[in-house]
Symmetry: C2
Subunit: 340 residues, 2 copies
Amino acid sequence: MKNELLLKALKGESVERPPVWMMRQAGRYLPDFMKLKEKYDFFTRCQTPELATEITLMPIDQMGVDAAIIFSDILVVLQAMNIEVEMRDGIGPYLPHPITNQSALNQVLLPDVDDRLGYVFEAVRMTKKELHDRVPLIGFAGAPWTLLCYAVQGQGSKNFDRAKAFCFQEPEMAKELLQKITTTTIAYLRAKIKAGADVIQLFDSWGGLLSPTDYQEFSWPYLQQIIDALSGTVPVIVFGKGCWFALQEMGKSGASALGIDWTCSARNARYLSGGQITLQGNFDPSRLLSPIPEIKTQVKQMINAFGKDRYIVNLGHGILPNIPVDHAKAFVDAVKEYGS
Amino acid sequence: MKNELLLKALKGESVERPPVWMMRQAGRYLPDFMKLKEKYDFFTRCQTPELATEITLMPIDQMGVDAAIIFSDILVVLQAMNIEVEMRDGIGPYLPHPITNQSALNQVLLPDVDDRLGYVFEAVRMTKKELHDRVPLIGFAGAPWTLLCYAVQGQGSKNFDRAKAFCFQEPEMAKELLQKITTTTIAYLRAKIKAGADVIQLFDSWGGLLSPTDYQEFSWPYLQQIIDALSGTVPVIVFGKGCWFALQEMGKSGASALGIDWTCSARNARYLSGGQITLQGNFDPSRLLSPIPEIKTQVKQMINAFGKDRYIVNLGHGILPNIPVDHAKAFVDAVKEYGS
């Protein structure tokens, strides 16, 4: 690997400057992405390895980030499990047949991942080839809890109240669904690693909607299963948005790094996670709308606060569609200028 | 006052059991409220003292809570400041002319609150009369930051990115707007107290969207100003949703109590707030969808975790519209049965 910053940071090795990448870095703020978006719908982009590869490489070539993350979506795992997922304009993900009872649950399959998700692994292989080992490639999956949110609610939501009601009223059914998602996710990620992914990131985007007690019941055990199953393969990064309350547990999980959102200061994050594990984050995505000189100042302050070692610079959530490209570039450049 | 539980808890005095009320307790889960909602639109309900009084009293009579909170909306303050606010079906609050530049900001007035918000004070006086001192009456206002979110974004939002961008790009304008809102809110709350409010609660519903640093810049100083201005009048409760990171500052602010959401455990809340101040919360509103026996068990566990003193039982955010009335009642009853 020509650029080993990310892998070094994940091993806890000292680096000259921390690595930097951005969640959703291959996305809607990039004009070239928008051109492809006009021509191909969402799942065509995900399911066509040539397109996924082209999109994945855009921020490497245009932003100069230190890692690639395969272009895909967390919901492809639900599709593979026989749950229909559409992407509707103005709504986002839409699942016409949400899983809200036992008979719907019985229709949820444990798929042959090579058969149903082969297009992702092909995209990984193709991207690895095109990358020529310039930077590591991150593969990812949604946390089982976050996928359950969509599977039960049927679409995005402010509080995913129907998904939570399902868990609270039918905990056994909820756990059967969570376990099916977990088992599929493990097979999916193993195949992704086999195809060439150098690092795995798990996204628990909706973990922060649960109380600490409910998180320990409906989210964390399934994430821990995945971490355990991938042990000895590649480094795993766990990002739970709003999950500051679970950082202690996460710090002892065997994960190589933890993602932090911008409501948790560097100091709190180091303290809560036990002080040893590599942390990743946590620039407020909206802060990329600040003037460029202020972005640069704040990035420097952020690195000083986290420390340059055991640290991966990132945003605290995905980059927003309305971020000017030169602001995103300034964020990346500020990291590269660090210490010089 | 016949029921002094809330006032005692706010003073830190020992009580037999903690008081209980629910945020949005006079709301859409109540069938009688829904009947009024069919007949009168949102602002008619707010602006007609007889209706506001009738709605405010519903949960006192039907749920048996230990406090009333005047039926109104945080956005009436913006209306009084010459900012148009509509309530649109399926959208919620909608502000056709958001404040996004200096000329719009110049149109924002510091109103004579008696002139523009007299209907609220009349509702407070009428409610106090109808209550016959059965329970204390809580008056409330939105935090200046939360009101700015609506004033600038123009409607509800997942991340209020336009409001945040305004603050980050035009901090001086943002602070001018925040100060205008603060000044108006102080006059508004003083008049509300004069009209008879026994307690004030400040709602910072969107404080948790800010980083700790930005919270200290764009939210907290204005809340502190309000707390200082009300010092020596009635007890003030500050509720910042998602603001666990600011509990230390809040604990030293002179507020009488702090609202806690369900992502912050009792133990963390006591630790972060300094261990002395009265806390209020933090049952996950979705958890009221659990079976009734489980609601009762969890309420008991929650009181045990917070302790019966210096504690006010509440939800961690507003009650959801789809909560069955008997589940809400079970929540209140469980508190009353505590220790017996």
